[in-house]
């Protein structure tokens, strides 16, 4: 069963996402909404990691050989200025999308396994990730025109 592989991918990508949210929060203190919400989302991603630990305990020992290495690219560090902020939000969106679709895949497996506990965990975490992506999309749409047209 390859579920453990996907749980591993989730673990590493949520980890990267949490770290990225925290870096963006730390690096964009001049944008208070970015700072506070990214910190809030970083905490959320870390709670998902804790949830995953319990699930992994049940499936972790059934690990198969990976078909190919799955991993999320590390966040490269924050950038400055209007365009820099836009790029950072975009990177977060890409990372969040990977996390989102991976939860979807794991959720499908959970249903196939009739694993109520995992179905419940996936439902909760998917909601959080949807909320993150919704906010990122909203904020990026707001920031893009000024950054792309007017920024020095």
């Amino acid at each position: 069963m390859h579920l453990a592989t996907y749980l591993g991918l989730l673990d590493s990508s949520e980890h990267v996402l949490a770290h990225a949210f925290r870096q963006v929060a730390d690096g964009h203190g001049d944008e208070p909404d970015i700072e506070h919400l990214c910190r809030f989302f970083a905490d959320q991603a870390e709670r998902h990691l804790a949830d995953l630990v319990q699930v992994a305990e049940r499936y972790g020992e059934q690990r198969e050989t990976e078909p190919e290495r799955l991993h999320a690219a590390e966040f490269g560090g924050i950038r400055h200025g209007g365009v820099g902020l836009l790029r950072d939000l975009q990177d977060l969106y890409v990372l969040g999308s990977l996390v989102d679709i991976t939860w979807t895949a794991v959720g499908q497996a959970a249903r196939g396994l009739r694993d109520r506990e995992l179905i419940e965990v996936v439902g909760r975490c998917e909601n959080d990730v949807t909320r993150q992506l919704t906010w990122l999309r909203t904020r990026l749409k707001q920031a893009a025109p000024q950054a792309l047209i007017m920024a020095p």
Binding site: P32, G82, R131, T134, Q146
Partner: protein, 775 residues
């Protein structure tokens, strides 16, 4: 009449439930008798959001007094101390009478032609997105609408917002989230009919004194309503709560959402709900139940620092009283979960089906007198006529009305909110900033930062005002504006009531109305429609009003049936006012049908926790179909809490004797003498710990700045400090910034805002206090 600067609410005129509030006509004439008055000119007061109708006394071409209008639905003849003593007293003091331009660092007098040419030359060199407009809560409807059309259809910039963001944005946001559109559900007549009144973060006794007189007159009547007050301070309102057998809940600043979730949980677990109303007229109950279930009284008591029994008693009053009226203001609006908490007040009323019936209203209040009109006319980060920026049909509507390409109208995202606008100025992507009728150098949060932004060398700053304010002193061009009584226009109060304010006297010197200034700019910029005709065809206030009526037609704020002639009648008229409802509308949503139809609604809503926008598709698929939303959110900690370095939480607010930055009230002798300078209110226990006695001079510091003033020992909750926000520097030595002893409360406040309404957090700043050495 007594001196109403001390006898603030005047003589009581008690009355019973469901009877009319008695008339009491208040009048103040300055050194003249009734017989000497040449004429009385119809108007309404612009010194708070209540909108009391009045007549202006004119003698020898000067304003010399005011008198409340007996027949008006808002005030039944009454006026408050600010209306009586600061409506016109400023009119011949320190006024700007000629345009000024900056030459070699100094502001020098010039002609209108040169001032306007300077502005237009710079504007023509600046791209649309390089323009920002920061306006006010004190202009007239006609001026906002004209400015809105200039910005949205002339230049095509999304960067237009105003001081209303600081005072009223959350009222609008909460109404949109719950009911689909802005528009006050309740009426002031609900005070005459209610059995309990809940004031959420609303010190009505000081902020809307005439409205509080209306409450007092019920409290002194035979069947007085119970008062429940939510306020960390101890005020006249919280005293009334005790006197009427109600409850005073004093939560720690920043914990309103936990308190509200606790109240809702009590209402739900005790089944004090109108099951049928909820089933037929709302959606979202399941999520609300799940969310508030986490807030049992004991947990709420711990988060908020209140007594669990008090919480339960307040919930019981709300849940078991026949008719409950709620009002909400800055204590909720200027906190970090502002929209969420204000929506929970709407939820309380929806659960009990107490909307649209006498005595059962919700009043999401406004701060400034004409704030409602910025929201309606699109001068504040909304589109005109409560149109939805995310609905292409609404944009096409506007494009047809204005005869412009829909692409000109910026609607790729919500119009830029004030705090973001200032950030763009700071980042130098807005280089042309036009400020009208407001004073951000005193009113915005974190003033040391604002002064730096205003000092930016490349910024081209236009300030249009009646006085050389703190802000005007940074300007490149200063335009002298006519003020209240010196120009004509309409405005709308917090309960949708429209009043006409006639011109009583000529403006001083060369000062012009804000409308004439905007029209002159539009003419010089030569804004054209698709057929090459002038974009703005009107030339006077009534023409602007008629144009606005067309814009509002068919929308929730329909002015279609109003005319200047109708507004010259006995009373102001509440919108919607149409051919079918020629006398206006006292209460909205009497049939429980809300403006949530996807084709009608002003907004598709947000995640209350983050401000993420609901997509049109998600909104449609929720099938609101006229039902109201029960929106829920968990409590989150405020962004700033007490720490070892800054162990106290500072809140700022209005006081009874002053308005905004005192440009008017500070020039009234009585009001200036009643409240001459800033003070720092702190709880007795905190004062004792700090070794402070009443009157000791103290220095209050936050991570951003400092304020100095005498300590006043209050009866508020421990850990909370209060500083009135009115005291800037125009009457101090340097005139535009502190000269060693700062007095503006916003030196301390932080640049942060609610995720949905974007209203800044003036109620949560961590501070420390130290005693200053005696001179």
């Amino acid at each position: 009449m007594t001196d109403r600067s001390t006898d603030v609410w005047g003589t009581r005129t008690p009355h019973a439930r469901d009877t009319a509030w008695p008339v009491r006509v208040d009048q103040h004439l300055d050194a003249v008798d009734d017989a000497d008055v040449d004429r009385w000119v119809q108007s309404a007061c612009v010194l708070c959001s209540n909108g009391c109708a009045c007549d202006i006394a004119v003698k020898d071409g000067r304003m010399v007094g005011v008198r409340g209008r007996a027949g008006d639905r808002v005030n039944h003849g009454r006026l408050g101390p600010k209306g009586l003593y600061a409506s016109w007293q400023w009119s011949d003091q320190d006024r700007l009478t000629r345009p000024l331009v900056r030459e070699n660092g100094e502001l020098v007098a010039t002609s209108w032609d040169r001032a306007m040419s300077t502005i237009v030359d710079r504007s023509r060199q600046t791209p649309a997105l390089g323009h920002g407009f920061y306006t006010s809560g004190q202009l007239f409807l006609e001026e906002y609408y004209t400015l809105g059309v200039i910005g949205k259809a002339g230049l095509g910039t999304p960067h237009m917002d105003g001081n209303t963001r600081l005072c009223t944005a959350t009222a609008a946001a909460a109404l949109k989230e719950s009911f689909g559109s802005d528009g006050q559900p309740g009426s002031y007549t609900d005070i005459d009919s209610c059995d309990a009144i809940f004031l959420f973060g609303h010190n009505m006794a000081e902020t809307q004194t005439v409205l509080w007189s209306r409450v007092l007159d019920r409290m002194h009547g035979p069947d007085r309503p119970q008062v429940v007050a939510v306020d960390p301070r101890s005020t006249r309102v919280t005293e009334a709560a005790r006197a009427t057998g109600g409850v005073h809940l004093a939560p720690l600043p920043g914990t309103n959402q936990a308190l509200m979730n606790g109240l809702l949980r009590e209402i739900l677990t005790n089944d004090w709900i109108d099951t049928r109303y909820v089933a037929e007229h709302t959606l979202g109950l399941d999520e609300l139940v799940t969310t508030v279930d986490e807030y049992p009284p004991e947990r709420v008591a711990e988060i908020c620092g209140i007594d669990a029994g008090d919480l339960c008693r307040a919930a019981e009053i709300f849940g078991t009283t026949e008719r409950v009226l709620s009002t909400v203001l800055q204590g909720f609006y200027q906190s970090h979960q502002a929209t969420a908490a204000a929506c929970q007040v709407n939820n309380l009323h929806l659960l009990r089906g107490m909307i649209g019936r006498p005595g059962c209203g919700v009043l999401q209040m406004n701060g400034q007198p004409t704030a409602q009109n910025t929201r309606e006319c699109g001068a504040d980060g909304d589109l005109p006529g409560f149109r939805n920026w995310n609905n292409p049909d609404h944009i096409d509507d506007l494009a047809r009305l204005w005869n412009v390409d829909p692409l000109v109208i910026p609607h790729w995202a919500p119009p830029t909110h004030a705090m973001q606008l200032w950030r763009y100025v700071e980042q130098e992507t807005i280089d042309f900033l036009w400020i009208s009728a407001t004073n951000p150098a005193v009113s915005l949060p974190q003033l040391p930062r604002i002064r730096e932004i205003l000092s930016r060398p490349d910024l081209f700053l236009v300030v249009q005002d009646g006085f050389l304010t703190e802000t005007a002193q940074y300007a490149d061009v200063v335009l002298p504006a006519a003020m209240w009584g010196e120009k004509q226009g309409t405005f709308t109060n917090a309960t949708r009531t429209v009043h006409l304010s006639e011109q009583a006297v000529e403006p001083p010197g060369e000062a012009r109305s804000d409308l004439d200034i905007f029209l002159d700019y539009a003419r010089r910029m030569d804004f054209r429609d698709r057929d090459g005709q002038p974009l703005i065809s009107w030339k006077d206030p009534e023409g602007a009003f008629e144009a606005w009526k067309e814009c509002s037609r068919g929308r929730p704020c329909d002015y279609g049936g109003l005319t200047y002639e109708l507004l010259r009648g006995d009373s102001g008229i509440p919108w919607p006012c149409t051919a079918e409802q020629p006398r206006g509308t006292d209460r909205l949503y009497t049939d429980g049908v809300f403006v949530t139809d996807p084709d009608q609604c002003e907004d598709y809503g947000h995640d209350l926790l983050t401000g993420g926008s609901t997509t049109p598709e998600e909104y449609r698929s929720s099938r609101p179909d006229g039902r109201a939303f029960l929106k829920a959110a968990p409590y989150t900690e405020p962004p700033e809490t007490a720490s070892a370095d800054f162990p106290l939480i500072c809140t700022t607010g209005r006081i009874v004797h002053h308005f905004h930055t005192r440009t008017k009230t500070g020039r009234s002798r009585r009001l200036r003498e009643a409240a001459p300078s800033v003070w720092v209110e702190l709880a007795a226990g905190d004062a004792e710990r700090l070794g402070l006695a009443d009157g000791d001079r103290v220095r209050v510091e936050s991570a951003r700045g400092a304020v100095e003033g005498p300590a006043r020992i209050g009866a508020g909750r421990p850990g909370v400090v209060f500083i009135p926000f009115h005291y800037g520097y125009w009457d101090a030595a340097d005139g535009h910034e502190p000269d060693g002893s700062p007095t503006a409360a916003n030196e301390l406040t932080l640049s942060d805002w609610d995720p949905v309404s974007k209203q800044p957090l003036f109620k949560i700043a961590a501070v420390r206090i130290a005693k200053l050495p005696e001179d």
